[in-house]
């Protein structure tokens, strides 16, 4: 489907990760002010002593007063992209984390036991002048990789408990609850889909549609298997390939439900294990190609409404793919921007096209509030969405070349 990420074994950059200076490039020569703040971390709270700072060096003194390991994160204004994080803060420990922050809106949060949803999400405003960083491109790339890996881990970290809640409802026959959780559970997965696809057989188990599993002779499991139980077809309904939806299909028995629920939980747990492995990392090209790949997911699957054939929640997947692409792009954006005038122009175009696409999507709802069911979106509306995807796809296809700047002789 999309460009596959290759998990790269033990790279040289691993030392950087171990230092947990994720995010901002430490750079004592950078311009700007110097601020020191305190962060009080408990199991259910995350309090920063101020919600504003001047641009420049910001030192966070983080004290974990809770009962288990925690982490502190600084998120970009999309609340998704990790700008910096400090992991493995044990109970009773106080550590310092130094960030170089440019003016803008950020969010601070903690993550109890380093999984699940952010705790104590609070906005954090940085004002003042743009700081001049003389960090080398090599350092920028290293920081980008660190940040993207952290982002993948944070998304899988959110996916694990969400999948449990969703499958519990399904397993227990609470279909109403399971139906409300279906789209939102998939969001974290759809944001990082190319990563999951890189792990060979995991994506087929987690996210294959019935017609694809059939075609490849695989046992059909995962989200879409459960989806068809939750939105069962009526007599005469067709599968996305036009075949009889009831042929070779029957509503799952309680035992089968338990089996599909356990399977999905286990597969997501395996994904979590893989991305949290010590040697897991990605290449810089994988990040920008991941952005392109996520948009291709939209252009080939979501736009035609074949992804969520029974629930019609395609627009949530669509939006999550776009968010994932935006985050991956955001992580390499400054590298592209700093290349040359063409790079700066490309970034400007991509920024505007993301805005256009997100505005187009917002006409139909939001990830948090839900979207218009896709079967109620007309063909001409779908074309407007498709046009916006194509408009973004064109400049985005130049991103990897610009970031890596490889010229063919």
């Amino acid at each position: 489907m999309s460009a596959r990420l290759r998990p790269i074994a033990a790279v040289a950059a691993i030392g950087v990760v171990a230092l947990a200076l994720a995010g901002c490039v430490p750079n004592p020569r950078a311009t700007g002010a110097s601020t020191a703040l305190d962060v009080k971390v408990a199991d259910d709270s995350c309090e920063v002593s101020a919600s504003t700072a001047k641009s420049g060096t910001v030192t966070f003194r983080i004290a974990n007063t809770g009962t288990d390991v925690n982490e502190f994160e600084i998120l970009a204004d999309d609340k998704l992209r990790i700008v910096g994080e400090k992991e493995n803060i044990t109970p009773g420990q106080t550590v310092s984390y130094v960030a170089q922050l440019n003016p803008g809106t950020y969010y601070t949060a903690c993550k109890f036991q380093q999984v699940g949803q952010p705790v104590g999400l609070a906005s954090f405003t940085v004002s003042g002048e743009e700081i001049e960083s003389d960090a080398s491109e090599k350092k920028q790339i290293s920081a980008a990789v660190t940040n993207y890996v952290a982002y993948i881990k944070s998304q899988v970290g959110a996916l694990v408990p969400a999948t449990k809640a969703f499958t519990d409802a399904y397993r227990n026959g609470d279909d109403a609850t399971a139906r409300t959780l279906f789209a939102s559970t998939r969001v974290a997965y759809e944001r990082i889909e190319p990563t999951a696809e890189a792990f060979g057989d995991l994506d087929p188990k987690i996210d294959y549609r019935e017609v694809d599993a059939d075609a490849e002779g695989l046992d059909w499991t995962g989200f879409h298997r459960i989806e068809k139980d939750l939105w069962p077809p009526a007599a005469g309904d067709k599968n996305s390939d036009g075949t009889d939806a009831l042929a070779g299909w029957a509503a799952s028995t309680p035992a089968e439900r338990a089996q599909f629920a356990d399977g999905l939980v286990a597969d997501v747990a395996q994904l979590s294990e893989l991305v949290n492995a010590k040697d897991f990392t990605v290449g810089i090209a994988d990040i920008s190609n991941g952005a392109i790949g996520l948009l291709d997911e939209v252009a080939t699957g979501k736009i035609e409404g074949e992804e969520d054939w029974w629930s019609h929640t395609d627009l949530t997947d669509f939006a999550a793919n776009v968010e994932g692409a935006h985050v991956a792009y955001g992580i390499v954006r400054d590298i592209a921007k700093n290349k040359d005038a063409d790079g700066a122009k490309l970034v400007k175009t991509i920024d505007a096209r993301f805005d256009d696409l997100e505005a187009e999507l917002a006409k139909y709802g939001s990830i948090d509030g839900g979207f218009t069911p896709y079967d109620e979106v007309t063909d001409s509306q779908r074309k407007e969405l498709s046009d916006a995807v194509n408009a973004l796809g064109k400049p985005l296809s130049q991103l990897t070349h610009t970031v890596l700047g490889v010229k063919k002789a």
């Binding site: 096209r353 074309k383 407007e384 194509n390 408009a391 400049p395 296809s397 990897t400 070349h401 610009t402």
Partner: protein, 424 residues
Amino acid sequence: MTSDESGRSLSRRGLIGLAGAGAAGLALGGAGGAVIAANVAGAAASNGVGTVHAFHGEHQAGISTPAQDRLHFAVFDVDSTASRDDLIQLLKDWTAAAARMTAGEEVGGGADGSPLAPPDDTGEALGLPASALTLTFGFGPALFETADGDDRFGLADRRPPELTALPRFRGDALVEQLTGGDLCIQACADDPQVAVHAIRNLSRIAFGTASLRWSQLGFGRTSSTSTSQATPRNLFGFKDGTANVKAEEQKALDEQVWVGAEQGPTWMVGGSYLVARKIRMVIESWDRTRLEEQERVIGRSKGEGAPLSGGTEFTEPDFHTTGATDAPLIDRDAHVRLAHPDLNDGIRLLRRGYNYVDGNDSLGRLDAGLFFLSYQSSPERFVTVQRSLANDALNEYLKHVGSAVFAIPRGIATGSWIGRELFR
């Protein structure tokens, strides 16, 4: 206008040199030989795979140019997010790419380049000669002002009064997805892959500014636009366009096809108006119709194409001579009579249509017909002819499913871009 091009490679194969660029415009199209045919009236050349039609000139190529064998016609809508500057940039980008492709060259940096980015050219025309490719650009009424009165690009007061949506005609069964549009590109070539390559790459360039609204592939030209060409046949099996305006008829072109200086506006002088109609033929019923009836409906013989009043293909039809029953030999509702200039204030259209087959419909009938294209100095001239066809006996076998009208700006000067004068 062509001598400056003689030093360039004229083919994606780069093997065709030019012997004597001074011969441009003469009908020297021959096997393997490249000919630059100037797209000025009266200088038509027969096509051949090596033929290169000059992109720049007084008129856009693809109108009086000898009709090529294949068509890919595309209509675009400008995106709601695009600005006037975006539109201008698109027209510049299209012009640059079109100049290269019509010369048999690759788009931009070609099908090669950075391994980390898609190449500028999609590549399927690599190794193919120019194949007489012409690219003709047009502006629909909605570009100037939408039906809701939205002046998106500050062009509302520049709309020529002639350029309005066509009125409804008897027999119209228009499908919205095949009707109207902001911009059009007519790609004609002797190789279908070359025509498709052109539209595909121009569509790709447009992403972010304009997107395809509808498009049509055509094969088998249904008109001759030069006396050097034999009259082709449409899918009814009859010769079509015998009395067409031909490139050699300078006077007729000036009177009937090109917009003159007195008509204006300036950006249209030397331009024309294009009417595109997708006309579905009820092939199966026609094929069950006896020969005598087919010939009566058309008003010509099927084999020779001679008018039923006698003579050969190019004999002028006689609409007065009657036969044994006192009825005219050419029936009162025969197509040839109702379409004839004598019944239409002397109006002749320059027709440039193509046959099409879009597979079949759900009832197992061929989805086929005529993709009608006509150029005239005003859309009103088409309207006059189409209205007189209201009682055409042929209508029983026709269904008009698509329709659009476009202003075709004057030709593009070297270094300029399509429609530049409109945006001044």
